[in-house]
């Protein structure tokens, strides 16, 4: 999970490009939904067809390509298995395409790019005109982003994030995005003003 976050901060430009190139939306939809029903750690899913792919690295790579927000509650273990499923399901149409003209598959390894967070190197597998797999061969470790990573709900359930109605005396004011007058009436700030 931590490494996935680093991928977000360190590879922002790169991942944007990958999202664009990954093809039709329905393709991604399938990739998202299928792994949920597959038991975690099923043996036949442990062997991605990409030769030489380092499993640890593959875990991190596809994460930034836009998981649905509903994944917020998933455990780290469950998240890690998703990309493996990604790779597997995306290959399924290729396997069924035996009668169609066989698309040429080639693997391209990008250069090592130095960023302020460390080195990044990506390898992609292209079938025809479509990227079917992307693997980060090298990603930076550690750094400030790592330290800052935290779930908002962890803070939410902690002392600083308690529902403020119960501890309003401890707050003087609330910062929030521009509130309309209607929004203000329903806001914490209004409650605090009223409590004075």
């Amino acid at each position: 999970m931590r490494r996935a976050l680093l991928a977000i901060t360190g590879l922002a430009a790169g991942t944007t490009a990958l999202v664009v190139l990954k093809g039709a939306p329905e393709d991604r939809q399938v990739a998202r939904e299928l792994p949920v029903g597959v038991p975690v750690g099923t043996p036949d899913r442990t062997g991605p067809a990409t030769p030489g792919a380092t499993p640890q690295r593959t875990a991190a790579t596809p994460r930034p390509t836009g998981q649905p927000s509903s994944t917020a509650g998933r455990t780290p273990a469950a998240r890690r298995t998703t990309p493996g499923g990604d790779a597997g399901t995306r290959r399924t149409p290729a396997a069924g395409r035996t009668t169609a003209p066989k698309p040429t598959t080639r693997t391209v390894t990008g250069p090592v790019v130095s960023t302020e967070f460390g080195n990044v190197q990506v390898r992609i597998t292209v079938a025809g005109t479509r990227i079917v797999d992307a693997v980060a061969l090298e990603l930076p470790q550690g750094g400030q982003s790592d330290l800052r990573s935290d779930r908002v709900d962890a803070a939410y359930s902690g002392t600083s994030g308690d529902v403020v109605r119960q501890q309003g005396a401890n707050l003087d004011t609330v910062s929030q995005a521009t509130a309309t007058s209607d929004g203000y009436r329903r806001s914490l700030q209004a409650a605090l003003d009223q409590a004075r």
Binding site: A12, A13, V152, V164, T173, A177, T178, A179, Y184, L188
Partner: protein, 240 residues
């Protein structure tokens, strides 16, 4: 601007003085609203934008605001854009700027302990009437009744930008589409107008805004992403 202003004066001054200071503050903010709003066609901003008011005829305040907006456009690689909607709308800077000016005036008048909240943009100075530094909650993006962080300090400008409800959005001015990736961005710094503009720019940048905030000198930040992660500067002045 259509927003609510809350002012807490904690310096021990005669009640009549405090009342005058509060009246002055609200009169100033109402005046700014009347001159800078985009919701009234007779405001100075609208008249300038329509070309009825020549730039040379604009007030010193408006010219200063437009100059700062131009600076901020450059500082944010174009992601803070007073023309993002296609017409002049400097309100992303004006609200924080007006509150900052009001706070500076309060300090000059001797009211060194105060908390001014202009539609969610907060400027605190000194201590609350309880004698401790001010405590500023940051709204939880998915729960209007909760905070996800509590900051504390004696001299902070805290501005938050983001999207809490469906239908609302921050525009990515480069592509002209609603920005995605960051639900809420809070910027802490010395100047409220600048902090607000930076927060808005970071939301417009999307996920890349996190890295941009990380490299921003003189400012601290807290970010809540669309998928519910809280990222923040390690030096952020958290309460407790």
């Amino acid at each position: 601007m259509g927003t609510a202003i809350s002012l807490d004066l904690a310096t021990d001054l005669p009640a009549a003085v405090l009342r005058t200071l509060a009246d002055d503050t609200f009169r100033w903010l109402r005046e700014v609203d009347a001159r800078f709003t985009t919701y009234r066609e007779d405001s100075e901003v609208r008249r300038l934008d329509r070309g009825e008011l020549p730039p040379a005829g604009a007030s010193a305040d408006l010219r200063a605001v437009l100059a700062r907006c131009a600076d901020l456009w450059a500082d944010t690689d174009g992601f803070f854009d007073a023309y993002a909607t296609g017409r002049l709308d400097p309100s992303g800077y004006v609200k924080g700027w007006a509150a900052q000016v009001a706070s500076d005036r309060l300090v000059a008048a001797g009211a060194v302990d105060h908390c001014l909240n202009a539609g969610g943009d907060v400027r605190v100075r000194g201590h609350s009437s309880s004698g401790r530094p001010w405590r500023i909650g940051v709204r939880h993006p998915w729960d209007a009744d909760a905070t996800c962080l509590v900051l504390t300090g004696t001299d902070l400008a805290v501005a938050t930008s983001g999207v809490y409800e469906r239908g609302h959005h921050v525009l990515d001015p480069r592509r002209g589409v609603p920005a995605r990736g960051l639900r809420s961005v809070t910027v802490v710094g010395p100047d409220l107008g600048v902090a607000d503009a930076y927060a808005t720019a970071a939301v417009a940048m999307g996920v890349a805004g996190v890295g941009w905030l990380d490299r921003l000198p003189g400012h601290l930040h807290a970010v809540v992403t669309d998928d519910g992660r809280l990222l923040r500067s390690t030096a952020l002045p958290l309460a407790d």
